[in-house]
């Protein structure tokens, strides 16, 4: 389908382990349009993280096709930025050097991107920590570094794997607002994996609800809340209504 930057067709993933195999994903179909923000929610073990590994080319699917940018994914894409639940920063590098890492790996001259890196740090509100080491920063700040690192090489695709899952509720809400802001400036095609329905509704254009193992797409909920989304968004009736709607698909016991 034209305009779809990501297309999954009948994708299944089976992990082989000692004592048998596990079906993590079962016949998943998903289309993501260029510049779209998709959130994927579902109970633990529904294969959400596996989905990201398939899309980024880190894992080959057992069955089905994963297409990104019209190409069949057969290996690491390079053109992606990934943020994990833990910041996974190199503790021997400063914040600046951590952010520059993808440039180094891709063979891009770091010096020529100096202003760009500083701009990103400023955008994330961590410009004063450029020369600090990760351990001198709080968990939220470290995750901001991780987000800068995911954006520094201007990837076509941003994959966020429960990026705020390890943060406290207040920091998390703050990070949601800042991420909405950062995203609005770049409008990168983004897939966010999360356990939080409110986070999903607040950030995404569409929320994909997955079922428990094996993971299947159970429902896709459109989020027609206008942007920019701000603190007021959370207080709106639309917001509360959409959370109810997504919650109904997941099962309210998970909310």
């Amino acid at each position: 389908m034209p305009g779809d930057v990501i297309a999954l067709q009948g994708v299944s993933m089976r992990y082989q382990a000692r004592g048998g195999s596990t079906l993590a994903l079962s016949e998943v179909d998903l289309q993501v349009r260029e510049g779209e923000f998709i959130a994927v929610v579902g109970p633990s073990g529904c294969g959400k993280s596996t989905l990201l590994k398939l899309i980024s080319g880190l894992l080959p699917a057992t069955m089905g096709n994963v297409m990104v940018g019209g190409q069949l994914v057969s290996g690491p894409l390079r053109n992606v930025g990934i943020v994990f639940q833990s910041p996974v920063l190199m503790k021997w590098r400063t914040v600046y050097e951590n952010v520059a890492l993808p440039l180094e790996v891709l063979g891009i001259d770091v010096k020529s991107r100096h202003e760009h890196i500083l701009g990103l740090l400023k955008l994330a509100g961590i410009q004063d920590f450029a020369n600090s080491y990760p351990k001198e920063l709080s968990g939220g700040m470290q995750q901001r570094v991780s987000i800068c690192r995911a954006l520094v090489h201007d990837p076509g695709l941003l994959l966020l794997d429960e990026p705020f899952g390890a943060l406290d509720a207040m920091t998390r809400n703050r990070m949601n607002i800042d991420l909405a802001d950062i995203w609005a400036r770049s409008r990168k095609t983004t897939i966010l994996i999360t356990h939080s329905v409110s986070e999903a509704v607040f950030l995404a254009d569409r929320v994909v609800v997955m079922s428990a193992r094996p993971g299947r797409v159970q429902a896709v909920v459109d989020v027609p809340i206008p942007r920019p989304r701000t603190v007021q968004t959370r207080a709106s009736d639309d917001f509360a209504h959409l959370i109810q709607q997504v919650g109904a698909h997941i099962g309210f016991e998970y909310l």
Partner: protein, 267 residues
């Protein structure tokens, strides 16, 4: 991050350490005097210090031999240990191939094979270097291999997603990550290397502190034996401190972390 080579906590621990040692020495002196212990069995600390001063050139000569053996054996253990650690972490196959050999060399008691080593390498310095190497090698391999393999899986995924191949992951992530581990291995290895050198000198040879201890004991020069132990301990402290200094220069991020950890545990 400011690089402080000598921290205030280090100075504090040095102060307390000196105090603790002084208490032991004073008690020692008292016990020997009160119970009138023969100086063949346990000489007075003051007499040992005096002996060490009188025989300083003799002690320094033998100490320098022992230190050369220790440092050479240690250096060989570090170099070869790093290479072996890299080999066993590159693939499951090479690990299965090499690891049993490494463990076997470790399970054989070094003291038991030391006479053989002397038989093969002669009674000079070489055999002592080999024994020091054999005994210091294991912790380097194990700690370095641990550091190389314990890189966070997500970090490897991140690098791979950018198209990094094994070599790049090795250089950018595994090597820097393993350095603090290497230094913990080196701390243990240096003390073991000294033991290795001394064991070698015990068994055969005509030089080194180990040799001096054996001959002095047989001649009932107990004061000199203790003077040997004194210089040996001092030299060991020095080598240990040198590695700490090197660690602060090469892996400052980890040295600072270790310091914090020590504050938490109150060590």
């Amino acid at each position: 991050m400011a690089l402080r080579l000598v921290s205030s906590s280090f100075m504090r621990s040095l102060g307390y350490g000196t105090l603790g040692l002084s208490i032991v020495l004073v008690l020692w002196e008292l016990v020997v005097r009160v119970f009138n212990i023969s100086d063949f069995l346990l000489p007075l600390p003051t007499n040992i210090a005096e002996r060490a001063f009188i025989d300083r050139s003799l002690l320094l000569h033998h100490l320098s031999i022992t230190m050369i053996e220790t440092v050479l054996g240690f250096a060989a253990a570090v170099l070869i240990g790093i290479v072996v650690a890299i080999v066993i972490t590159t693939s499951e196959r090479s690990k299965n191939l090499v690891m049993p050999i490494v463990i076997a060399t470790q399970l054989v008691p070094k003291v038991a094979i030391a006479p053989l080593v002397l038989l093969w390498f002669g009674y000079g310095i070489t055999s002592k270097v080999v024994i020091a190497f054999l005994i210091a090698f294991f912790p380097i391999v194990i700690d370095m291999a641990t550091g190389l393999t314990m890189v966070e899986k997500e970090l490897v995924d991140l690098l791979r997603s950018l198209g990094a191949k094994r070599w790049k992951i090795f250089v950018k992530a595994q090597i820097p990550h393993s350095l603090p581990f290497l230094f913990s291995g080196m701390r243990i290895a240096i003390t073991l290397a000294i033991i290795g050198a001394i064991v070698g000198e015990f068994i055969g040879g005509s030089q080194g502190v180990g040799y001096l201890i054996v001959t002095s004991t047989s001649e009932l020069k107990t004061e000199l034996v203790f003077a040997c132990l004194l210089v040996l301990t001092a030299a060991g402290f020095l080598l240990f401190a040198l590695i700490g200094l090197l660690e602060r220069i090469i892996v400052p991020w980890s040295a600072a972390e270790r310091e914090e950890l020590m504050l938490v545990t109150g060590a």
